[in-house]
Structure formats: structure tokens, C-alpha cells
Symmetry: C2
Subunit: 435 residues, 2 copies
């Protein structure tokens, strides 16, 4: 029976927009956890987020149509949380804890819409996309802005391809992903989750990859950072906190002493608000070595660390040494690896630390955007790029990130110099930022 | 928009049968060419066709449900040619020739339906599927019978798999097929066609493979042996004749002399009926060496040979030598390879004969039924089997095939012995029959 659904076909042909952001929950879970803290403790702070494309050779303003970009950003701004979504946020158990979000916060979220954006083109072929406003509003732009740009770039690359070439492309990508699943299956105590929202090829592809892991590695797949996918596929929503907390807290300080103390002050506030399983330290905002050297002893009581810019084995070993120096048994501690992971890194790291520390892997770009070798023609148009959306100003003062990898530093050069003077550069090692 | 087409869903759930044979044209083109000859020259001959599974370890009667098998065979018997199909057969140009089918023959075809079948189970777990009746009716069962059994076996293997595992299975098979396409693209003057109907994984998968070759290697893809796919996808329908012609003609003889002459008599009749591009010799019914030794000189005037059971390079070389001994230039001749081809064999054979003879490849099982390594679990349930449907009797007399490979011989042992005595066994070399 060759039947055409005429109504669907007409609907498809007259679609105004094929939306990339379908819901405000299509974001990383840690953004909501951080948002509640920002809403509670920093309600009046202004924060500017800016798009930064570290892969300069990809001239985004020449690849992505400005009209389409505005259309997607405008569409994301129309989104509000649905009743079902609000009820789920209020009623679901996260990290074993009920009502992690306060009723007042949920009530405030009910009216939330993404604030306005500023879009211009730079002379070097990039988009200057900036979000000004209250931190508690601009912060939620980070993930949708990145997902929109990455997916528009994918769509541009696929535009000229016929249905058959597209079929082969996705067939190859599926086969490739499943080969990874089969390799990961061999690790008996693996704990891995999807952290790939911001760098994904597309929303539908991320969903396929999440379903692949759910089906393929079962219990070893502990969940996804994507709140919408967690809700829709009955997975745990995962994530804790990110660099923007110490970055804003540091930017707001007015003395070097206060700046040095800021990263720990943020952790204390976090502990007051959440505690429990959410006590994960992100140590590399200004370099892991400096962070550990200056850290109060109570930091060693936290559940674990998420080293996010050092090579995983090297970075992990430093933290293990530090725990031991502070009399803690690493086997009771957790390391969450989430920087530039591929199957080889995951397997090597797993085998290296097996039995010595609890581990978890937050798998990003290489899970949700790996189309290497999948295009029928040789092209780099689907290669992922290193695109971030960082807080660049807080209450008019420049925000800075150093990280363990100087190529990941962001901020004004003079301010970066000041931070380097204060935190040092021991252990900093430049490595190419692929994604 | 998550819209479900309720009507389609209900229709799908209440489907009585998911038909494997959708049309009488879902057969190999050479069956129709041979049918016209049988209809014209042997209208009253009886011929019995029998299913033979050479892969004995696969116990088909335990894998395939008898009810489902009968349902599919019965459904095939309901098929008649549609007006569109009859008009296409009458009006299309085949091998550059218009009206290859006579109006009387088309008129007779208009009422054609497949005759009855006999189905029983043998003690060793196989189906005994037999077609008795006029040759001009039973002959058309060969391809649908094989396609039905092969597809029912695929369906049985896939029945326990979830939608996700199926998605991965076909993704891998597509990726695998496309890798083959990319390898074949490197041969500048390749001529290749689909000969994979009888051994296909399924009808829809064959169609995908044919479309893959059409899209992927363009002009190098010269067509398909499947008449329905040729019609639907605007490709050339390809094929000439098969072993059943000399097998029946030989079985009907009453003396050794007549038996020795039968294979050449059939070719003369063929030439009278078709001529032109259809003059392809299939030399191995009773061994290629015997065929060439006894062949009259006019056989060397034919367009080419289709060696079908000897290793392609070895078998081809013998024919080249024979052409030269008869003063013909092989560069003006054509070799069609069609036995157990995979990409490696195709490339090796192509390179071996390049510039010395015209070549064409009829690609079968390895094109339309290669799922090796595609199942998410290790299993041989999708490995192709060596299943044939051969003429076993003509007017009550046993039919025999020897071929160049004793493992491909069919017929009664005493009759095989008689044929061997007459034709010899020089060059016969046993090799495992994979497909």
C-alpha cells in the first residue's frame, strides 16, 4: 500500500520553523541547580554571556544564515515551561532527594522566558552573540545558544545532500555509535552518562544516542545531563555545577584576598543549598594546582572532583595524591571525567584507576556529534568545533577563566594576567582544544 | 508535533499477511525470456521443480513456521500481472530490442497464475517443496519460492529483536553496503548488475541495495535481474538463460548421442528466438571442459559466456584460450561473472582481465544478503544459505546438473553417473558452496 498522508505532507511543506529548542528543559541539569542558587543568592547581579568560537577557521557567519539563526533564537525565547514540566521538576527525585527545587523557585520558573540577545557579525566571519541582563536570566541562554548554532551548522552541511546520502550518513553514524557501545560493554563496573547537549549534532541525534546507550549498556548508563531527555526517557538527570559560579563570584570581589577565597566561598554556599550527592568540586577554574594548594581541609570531605581540563589520568592522579595527603581514602571518593572523552580515553582511564577510586564518565561531543568518516564525500563540515558560551562580565567587571589548559582561558588579557599572578601557572600545559 | 496516523496504525495491526511476493514480475528477467521459449517450443512438457537446501545444518522446517510459509505461497498464487505490468513488458525495450515478447505470449501471460505446490517435512528437518505440472507453469515458481523461504528465514531471525536492535542492524548493513560501493567506484570501466533476487534478505532490502548501487556507482551499474525493480526504478532488466534449458532438453533425450548434442541444440533454438545481445553461453551444466571440447565452431560467434561454477579467473582463462584457439579476439567478447561474487573477487577478477576481454558482473547474495557482523549479538541466523530450486524431472525422466563443482551437482545418483561417464570430469574441482 503506497499511501501518502496528505495532511502531514502539506504540514511539513509549510512549516514555518523546524525548531531546535523545543522546551526550556532542553538544557543541562546543572544549569537549573546553579540557577536556583543564583536566584537565591545573587538575584540582582548582572551577568553577560558571550559566544566564543575557539575553532576560528570555521567562519560561522559564512556557514549559518543570519535569518535562520534569529528565527531559532526568537523561537527559543517564546518557550515557557509547560505544566507537565513544572510538575515533573517539583515532583521528581533528583540524586535521591525529593523537592530539590524550592516551591518559590518553581513558581518563579513558571513565568520564565529567555531574555533578549544581541547579534552582530565580526570582521573575521564570526557571529558576536551576547546576552546582557540579570545573571538569573542570561545564564539559561548558554546551552540553547550553543545547541542552536551547532545544529544550524549541521543543517547547513546537510542541505545539499539527497535523501539517499543522508540515509547512508546516519546509517554509518549509528553503526559507529553502536561499535562504541559494544566496546564500553566490556567494562564491568562502568558508570557513564550523556553530557553532550551543547555540542550535539542535533536534538534528534542526541536522543538516538541516549537511547543507544540506554539499550546497549543498561545499568552502566547512569543518565543524561539533558533535563528534557531525562524526563522523556525516564533517565536520571545528572550534573552539579560549573565554572560560571566561581567566575562570577570572583569577578564580584574587590581585593586579591577576596578573589583567592571566592572559589571556596561558592562551594560553601553550594553545600548549604544542596549537600549530599551534589558535592562535586570543579577544581580547574584557575588551575587545579592552585585550587588544591589553597583549599581548606573540608573540601576533602566532599563526594568527589570533576577534573575538566587536565588529561584525565594525570589530573586524576593529582587529586588522589591530594586526598591521601589529607588522610582520605580515594576508594570512598568519586572522580567524574568529562573533558574531551572518547572510547579510548574512557577505557584507558577506567583501567588505570580501576579499584583505586570510584569513577564516572560524562561523555559529550564524541557521543553526540561524531560523524567522522560518515559523510559520503570527504569534508570537515560536520567536524565538531570548540564553541563555548561563557560569562564575560558580572556587574560590569570582567570575568576570567584560566583552566589547566591555557588554550581554554577566557577573559580580558590584563585581567587574565592578574589572575595568573595570583593563582600561578604550575601544571598549566597547553594542549590543542579539539572540542 | 507527535501525530499518529490512526488509520495506518490500525491497518498495520490488522494486516493479514505482509506479502513477500508483491507481483509476478518480482522474478528474474531470464525466467521470462526462457518462459517464452518454453511456451513456444515445449508447451506440453511436464517439469518438476524441487527445493534443495545444500546448507543442511540449517533445519528450515524448524526455523520457518509452516503456516506462514503456506500463507506466503498461497498469496503468491493469487498474483496476476496488472495491466500496467503487461503494457510495460510489451512496450519496453530490452537489450536494445523492442517487442522482445510476442503479442501471443503476452496475451497468454495475462491470465497466468502460479500452479499448485506440494509441501511436506522431511525427517531431517527440511521442507520438501515440490512443483509438479507443465514446465511453462512450474518454471516461474523458482524465484518466488526461493525469495519466500529466504525472507521468512530472515523474519524469523529478526522476530525477537526490539526496534532499536533492528535500527542498528540495518544501519550497519547500510554502512557496510556503502563501503562496498565506495570500493567499486575505484574501477573506471566496471559494469555490474544486481542478480540477488533469489538469495535476498528481503524485498525491501534488495530495493535499498539496488538504489544504493544506482546512486553510488551511476553508469557502472547496468541494471538488475529483478523485473519489478527494473520497472519501478527505471533500470535495465538483465539476464539471458539458465541451466534449466539444457537440463530439460537433455532429460528429454533418449540416446547418448542426442544427450551430447542437447546443450547445443538449445542454443540454436535460443538464437532463432532472440539472437543479438542475448547470445550468452552458460557452459557449465555438465562441465565447462566437456562443453568446450564438444562445441561446434558457431558457439564462438556468440557474444559471450557466463561461467557460473568455476573460480572466475581460472574459468575465464579457459574460455579466453578456447576463443583464441577458434581464432576469435577475446577483446570483442564478453564474460559475465555471477557465481559467489564479493567485492574482493570482483576487484581481483576485474584487474586480472582488464583490457583483455569485456566483462560484466552479476552480483548476487553478497549484495542483497550480507549481514555478517551486523547483528547486535553473535549469531549465524542471518548468514545466507545455499538454497536452490531446480528442475528434477521432465516428462517423468530425471534431470541432472553436474556443473564444474561436484558440490553443486543435482539429480539422481545413477543418472549423475551416466552423465559423468558421457561428459567426463576433467577440471571438476570441489569447492565449498557458500551461497
Amino acid at each position: 500500500m503506497a499511501r501518502t498522508d496528505i495532511a502531514r505532507r502539506v504540514y511539513n511543506h509549510t512549516w514555518k520553523v523546524d525548531p531546535i529548542i523545543r522546551s526550556l528543559l532542553d538544557t543541562d541539569f546543572y544549569k537549573l541547580l546553579m540557577l536556583q542558587m543564583i536566584w537565591a543568592l545573587y538575584p540582582d547581579v548582572d551577568a553577560t554571556f558571550s559566544l566564543i568560537n575557539r575553532t576560528k577557521k570555521v567562519r560561522l557567519a559564512e556557514v549559518i544564515d543570519e535569518g535562520e539563526l534569529r528565527e531559532q533564537l526568537d523561537h527559543a525565547r517564546t518557550r515557557t515551561l509547560s505544566k507537565k514540566e513544572l510538575i515533573w521538576l517539583a515532583g521528581n527525585t533528583f540524586y535521591g532527594r525529593k523537592q530539590i527545587f524550592q516551591p518559590d523557585f518553581i513558581a518563579w520558573l513558571a513565568d520564565f522566558q529567555l531574555p533578549d540577545y544581541e547579534l552582530a557579525r565580526s570582521s573575521d566571519g564570526q557571529y558576536e552573540l551576547t546576552f546582557h541582563g540579570k545573571w538569573k536570566e542570561t545564564t539559561l541562554w548558554e546551552i540553547p545558544a550553543l545547541a542552536i548554532i551547532n545544529e544550524l551548522r549541521s543543517r547547513a552541511a546537510l542541505k545539499a545532500m539527497g535523501p539517499f546520502a543522508l540515509d547512508v550518513l546516519y546509517a554509518r553514524a549509528k553503526a559507529k555509535t553502536w561499535d562504541k557501545v559494544e566496546r564500553l560493554r566490556t567494562l564491568p563496573d562502568l558508570r557513564i552518562s550523556d553530557f553532550g547537549t551543547r555540542r550535539r549534532h542535533s536534538f534528534l541525534w542526541q536522543r538516538w544516542c541516549v537511547e543507544a546507550l540506554k539499550e546497549g549498556i543498561g545499568e552502566a548508563f547512569t543518565g543524561t545531563s539533558n533535563v528534557l531527555l531525562a524526563m522523556d526517557t525516564d533517565l536520571e538527570a545528572l550534573g552539579t555545577n560549573a565554572h560560571e559560579l566561581p567566575m562570577v563570584a570572583s569577578a564580584l570581589t574587590t581585593s586579591d584576598e577576596a578573589l583567592k577565597a571566592a572559589p571556596y566561598k561558592v562551594l560553601q554556599d553550594w553545600n548549604t543549598l544542596y549537600g549530599g550527592n551534589l558535592l562535586i568540586v570543579l577544581p580547574d577554574a584557575y588551575g587545579t594546582a592552585a585550587f588544591l594548594r589553597n583549599a581548606p581541609d573540608w573540601v576533602a570531605d566532599w563526594t568527589g572532583f570533576r577534573p575538566d581540563s587536565a588529561p584525565p589520568i594525570e589530573g586524576g592522579e593529582k587529586i588522589l595524591t591530594w586526598w591521601k595527603e589529607h588522610g582520605r581514602d580515594p576508594r570512598e571518593k568519586l572522580l567524574i571525567f568529562s573533558d574531551g572523552l572518547d572510547v579510548d580515553t574512557i577505557i584507558d582511564t577506567y583501567k588505570h584507576f580501576e579499584g583505586r577510586v570510584r569513577m564516572s564518565f560524562g561523555w559529550g561531543t564524541n557521543l553526540t556529534n561524531d560523524f567522522e568518516g560518515c559523510l559520503p564525500v570527504d569534508s570537515d563540515r560536520l567536524d565538531p568545533i570548540s564553541l563555548v558560551c561563557k560569562v564575560t562580565e558580572a556587574n560590569g567587571r570582567p570575568a576570567v577563566k584560566l583552566s589547566d589548559n591555557p588554550n581554554k582561558a577566557t577573559g580580558e588579557p590584563s585581567e587574565i594576567a592578574r589572575y595568573i599572578k595570583l593563582f600561578g601557572t604550575e601544571d598549566h600545559a597547553a594542549k590543542a582544544v579539539k572540542v
